[in-house]
Symmetry: C2
Subunit: 265 residues, 2 copies
C-alpha cells in the first residue's frame, strides 16, 4: 500500500489512460486495462499478471465482493490507492466501482481440438466482444483475428467480452498467409456468406472445424473465401438479407454447440 494518489496528472493515471486510448501503447507493452469488481475477480481467478493500477477502498467496500477484491489488491505490488476523482479520470463507465488495473495479455494455447472462430476484419468493438463472449459460452477452442479486426484489447471489446480474454485462446494480427497453419486441425473451413445454399445447421459441427465471420459491411475477403472449403448461410425470411455480425456468428456457434452436446449424450 502506498500513498493515496489524488492528482489526475500522476504518471500512473496517465499510463492507464494511454493504455485505454492507444492501441500502439497496448501492443508495445502487451498490457490492457480492466475495470470493475467482476473483471478483477476474473483476472485474479485466472492468475493474470497484474502490472499496476489504482483502487479506491471506500468504493470497493460498498459490496462483499468488492471487499474481497480490495483484500487481494492490497497484497499486489504496483496497485495503489487513489481518490474518487482519480478513479473517475481513468474510468470508462458512468458509475465506477473503484478499481482500474493494467494486466498482461494472457498467453493461452488451445487445450482441445474443436471449433476455431475466425474474425475477418470485424470492425465494431461491440460485435467483437459479444462474439468472444459467445465463443467462450460455446466452448470454442480458439479465436483468430485477421488483421483489420478491431483490437481485442480495446476497452469496448474487453467490456463486452465479460472476461473471455482470460480463458479463451485469442490470436491477433494474423494474415491470411499465416492462417492455414493455425487451421491445420480443421476438417472443414466454413465461410458464412449470405447467398450459400447450404444452411449452417446442415454442417456436421461435431468434427473439428473453423468458422469465418466477415466484416460488417463487406463480408468475407477474397482470401478468406479462397481458404474456405464450404460456404454456409443462415436461412432467413424475406425481405431480410443480413444479420448483425455478432448475432450471425452466435447463431452458428450455438448450433455447433448444440450438435456437439447432443452427439456426446
Amino acid at each position: 500500500m502506498g500513498v493515496v494518489i489524488t492528482n489526475p496528472k500522476n504518471p500512473t493515471v496517465k499510463h492507464l489512460r494511454s493504455l485505454m486510448a492507444n492501441r500502439k501503447a497496448r501492443r508495445h507493452e502487451r498490457l490492457f486495462v480492466i475495470e470493475g469488481v467482476r473483471a478483477v475477480e476474473e483476472a485474479l481467478r485466472s492468475h493474470a499478471q497484474i502490472a499496476f493500477g489504482v483502487y479506491n477502498a471506500e468504493q470497493l467496500a460498498d459490496s462483499e465482493r468488492g471487499r474481497a477484491v480490495l483484500a487481494a489488491l492490497r497484497e499486489q505490488r504496483g496497485v495503489q490507492p487513489a481518490s474518487p476523482e482519480v478513479i473517475a479520470a481513468v474510468s470508462d463507465t458512468v458509475t465506477p466501482q473503484g478499481v482500474v488495473l493494467a494486466v498482461g495479455w494472457p498467453a493461452l494455447t488451445p487445450q482441445r481440438r474443436g471449433i476455431t472462430l475466425v474474425l475477418d476484419a470485424l470492425q465494431d468493438p461491440g460485435n467483437v466482444g459479444t462474439l468472444l463472449r459467445a465463443a467462450e459460452a460455446t466452448a470454442v477452442a480458439q479465436v483468430i483475428c485477421i488483421s483489420g479486426t478491431a483490437d481485442v484489447y480495446s476497452p469496448k471489446v474487453v467490456r463486452a467480452a465479460m472476461g473471455a480474454h482470460f480463458r479463451l485462446p485469442i490470436v491477433q494480427d494474423v494474415s491470411w498467409e499465416q492462417a492455414p497453419a493455425l487451421l491445420a486441425d480443421a476438417d472443414h473451413i466454413y465461410a458464412a456468406v449470405p447467398d450459400a445454399t447450404m444452411p449452417y445447421y446442415a454442417a456436421d459441427w461435431r468434427q473439428p472445424a473453423a468458422l469465418i465471420i466477415g466484416n460488417e459491411a463487406n463480408g468475407i475477403s477474397a482470401a478468406g473465401l479462397a481458404l474456405a472449403t464450404k460456404r454456409i448461410s443462415i436461412p432467413m425470411a424475406a425481405p431480410v438479407e443480413s444479420l448483425n455480425a455478432a448475432v450471425a456468428g452466435s447463431v452458428i456457434l450455438f448450433e455447433a454447440y448444440r450438435q456437439r452436446r447432443l452427439g456426446r449424450s
Copy 2:
C-alpha cells in the same frame, strides 16, 4: 418542392429534432424519424405515411438508389429541400446521406399464427433493435414490448432494426395484465431463464408459442414468470453464466425458425 431550408432553427428542423430526442413527442403525434436512403426505400416500399421531412438533392444524387429516392420525395407533400448544414443538424450519423423524414407509426396486425416475442423491460436500445431485426428474419408473428422496454421508435432502436418496423407487428406499453389476451394463441409461453433444466432446442417450436426475453440486469419479472408455462435455458460452457440479451433471444428465435423450416420440408 418548396424553398430550400437553410436555417437550422426552422420549425420543421426543430420538429424533427424534438421527435428524435423526445419519447413523449413521438407518442403524442404517433410519429418517428428515419434517416438515410435505405430506410426511406423501406418506408416507400411499405407505403408508410410520410408526415414531413427534409432532403438535400446533391447528397442524394451521389448514388443511383439516392436518385430514385430523390425522385419519389419530390412528389411528397411536406418534404422540403434543405442545405447540408440543416441535414447535419437533424442527422444522427457521422456521414449523412441527405434525407431525414418523420413517418407515422405503422399499424400492422399479425397475419399468421406462430411465434410471439415478448420483451420484458429490455433497456438497451441496441438490443431491442437487434432483436426486432432477428424477429423479422425468423418470421416472428408479432413482438410485444412490456412497459419499461426501450421505446421501439427511438432513433437507436430504429437504426438497429434495419426496417423491421415497417413489416413486423409491434405492440408497445403492454402491461402484464394485458398480455394474456395477446398471447391467447400460444400453446406454450416459454420464459428464457439461466437456470432452467430444459434446453431451448428441446421445445417444439412448430407449435404456436410465445418467448419471453428478460431485462439485461434483472431477467424476467415475477409477473412474466407467473404467466410462463415452461422455462427454458441456453446450455453454455462454464464458467459463462449469461449472454447478451440480443444474442440469447436471437439464438432461440433461429432454433425455432430452423425447426419450423425442417418441419415444413
